[in-house]
Symmetry: C5
Subunit: 105 residues, 5 copies
């Protein structure tokens, strides 16, 4: 999995029928900033992931890729390859906090 | 999934028999432009995806990769790893529109 | 899938037994040249794909990756992750031809 | 699989229900340093992997990606794409040790 | 699949129980050298693959990735994503030999 920030959403009216009603979020994968190792920074990539947890913009989330995106009751028959499986509360690296959800509110 | 622009098509007459009759589109994955974050830009990559939705050139589409490309009635037995699952109407990032289909017409 | 040019072949005598008799081709993924967008150029990568269609050197082919490489009668039990599913006749991008098989003959 | 160093952990309280109780570790993939080929160095990437082996920070581990992350009794129904399948004791490359766990203690 | 050179091995005593007894080799993916196109060169990446064929250091091998690594009798229940499926004897590109196993002995 990777950590990503939710930054937007996609609207599609013409789509494969099984996709009707599923929320499509824009997520940007993040990685540890390499020099100081104190914060998360964007990788510059843009993915679209299905959300069933009510994630909102600016939430940091855990995204699963590939066939495992179909391993939940809501997604098991969907033609999807990325899904939000958790909203991140805290990330600790090198025994220090590099992200805490409360800090952002 | 990723957002891509449909830019062309592929013709192949000698192919695996199950692929007969399936439309093969050239799609170029797009990502958010990193500096201003106001538009989508090409990643410079070129993929081929199966289309069952009637997507046309210059349409922005959602592309699923991997085994999930086989999770629709039309594609379930096909040897494919990329499929168009939706035609994109709108993309919002940072609460602003970075793509709207009507703008292009 | 991606478009690739067949540039060679691999011989392996010590191999997993199910692989006996299968042709292994060297394929180099191609992408659209970014500046003029009029031709296909190599990505510089080198993959090995199973061929069941009789593709020859310099043929441009469609390659499927991942578990879908097993979705044909000849390959369904093979430990492979890449297969040639079509020989490309023509590629059109931006309404112009960027590759036509006859041009090369 | 790839070798990674465990550098942290992730806390997520709002998550897909099947993920409850599973440890999520931050892992950074390592590769051989290219010039001298005597040590392992970070690739600068950041992944999240499930741990069932009790791996701790600074442990070097083997990480499996994709659907195979579900091929253990503890993970077979989970929506995950990365799992720690071993804690690394030693890595030998070019007949020399490039990592030994005891060195680090 | 990709061509790789076997450059080392990994020892792991604490591991998922099904992995007991399986050989873990360090493999470095190779690609065609781009300028002269006469030899194979390393990509600089480092992967770990299961070996059931007795591959030794400096052997060039074919590596399969993903779920297909489980498509052999010895590996079908293993949590692995990379396996050596052949030891390479010869690679021909542009009708010339770019690798022959006997040359190296």
């Amino acid at each position: 999995m990777f950590i990503a920030r939710v930054t937007g959403s996609v609207v599609s009216s013409t789509k494969v029928s099984s996709m009707t009603g599923h929320k499509l979020m824009v997520v940007e994968p993040y990685r540890l900033e390499e020099k100081k190792r104190k914060s998360l920074v964007t990788t510059g990539r843009t993915f679209i992931a299905v959300d069933t947890l009510g994630a909102g913009e600016n939430d940091y989330v855990l995204v699963v890729q590939g066939s495992s995106a179909r391993l939940t009751p809501e997604t098991k028959e969907l033609p999807i390859d990325a899904m939000i499986i958790g909203i991140v509360d805290q990330v600790h690296i090198d025994k220090a906090s590099v992200y805490a959800r409360k800090d952002e509110k």
